[in-house]
């Protein structure tokens, strides 16, 4: 494959021409595709909430996919601060900014489970079975250990052998009904996170 003069001229000419034209800015015009990513919250549904972590009580806006139509399962896709909120004014701390990963944590519990005495595993049970068994255990313990009168014969009506540790982030409504139920049972070993 030897090159003859004509071929040689051709190769040189095309190469040189192309490169110099290109260098002078005559390259074929590139298509400028839209580079900005789409704004991901367009058409999501906004719900107001309060951060469940510390007691600053920052306002949140939760954005969920779906418009609430019957055939859509809403899923929260983004959470950010509520700019109208007079305390946090839209800001969130690192925990609050990462709330999405709390909502979608792989370690969220999904089903009632029981670990039987001595067992090394969880067994999934139905709500009915779980609540039924717990109620039976509670009643047995209450009936056996309820104290109506103390040694001095004073009316005391207390149940000390079962205790209840209430939450720190559950709502007032949950707390209120918890208190109502727990006290009606006569429980005194009742506490919450305020203590620690």
């Amino acid at each position: 494959m030897d090159m003859n003069r004509r071929q040689f001229f051709k190769v040189c000419g095309v190469g040189l021409g192309a490169s110099s034209l290109a260098a002078l800015g005559m390259a074929p015009p590139p298509a400028y595709a839209e580079t900005i990513r789409h704004f991901k919250l367009a058409n999501t549904r906004e719900t107001r909430n309060t951060c469940p972590y510390c007691s600053v009580g920052c306002g949140l806006i939760m954005y969920s996919r779906g418009d609430g139509a019957k055939n859509v399962v809403q899923e929260i896709v983004h959470i950010e601060g509520d700019a109208d909120h007079p305390v946090n004014r839209g800001t969130l701390c690192p925990k609050g900014a990462g709330l999405l990963d709390f909502v979608h944590s792989p370690n969220r519990l999904k089903y009632p489970e029981v670990r039987e005495a001595g067992s090394n595993e969880w067994k999934r049970v139905s709500w009915d079975e779980a609540l039924g068994r717990i109620a039976t255990l509670m009643k047995a313990d209450r009936d056996a250990n309820f104290v109506t009168h103390n040694a001095n014969g004073q009316t005391v009506n207390r149940w000390l052998s079962t205790g209840f540790l209430a939450a720190s982030a559950s709502s007032n409504e949950a707390g209120y009904i918890t208190h109502k139920v727990v006290r009606s049972l006569g429980m005194l070993a009742f506490d919450n996170q305020a203590r620690v």
Binding site: M1, D2, M3, F8, S19, A22, A23, A27
Partner: protein, 205 residues
Amino acid sequence: MNNEIERYTPAERSNHWAVAILFVLAGLSGLALFHPALFWLSGLFGGGVWTRILHPFLGLAMFLLFLVLAIRFARYNHLNAYDRQWLKQMDDVVNNREDRLPEVGRYNAGQKLLFWVLVLCMLVLLVSGIVIWRQYFGEAFGVGLIRLAAVAHALAAFVLILGIIVHVYAAIWIKGSMGAMLYGKVSRAWARKHHAAWLREIGRK
């Protein structure tokens, strides 16, 4: 008596052309990244990403084969006093007045110089290429060194390409050279004209 002399063995020729092909591929892929005006060359390699992926491997392969080639030819490429005289008469060289030049051995001084330039460029390209090869060595070097290597790589490539342009042109210009590398043989007349000392030397053997 056979009028033809073997100048390159089949192995040498294969080696040379393998390096040449890899040079073209590495060169084109490198040029695609060298200047925006040549980015279209990346299309030859399946796009920018493939160009980025292939280029270092092409370069590495080129280097390894070149290394073999260089080892084969290194002993013919020692410069001597005749070579210096040859270089001084560059004007005679370019104007085809070979009769005025000192007698040339297997390679003339220009070829020898080119050989060493190629060796140097290849080494620089290899070392600097590894330094800027992000996919495998991204964490290994500091940014200062990487920047230096990028410049060195571009510079060495530039020099190499210039050298090869000269080399290719010389092959076109000096009739008979192309055949030497294609078929391995040259005529005695060709040898006497361009490499008289070499002809005498093989005659003695």
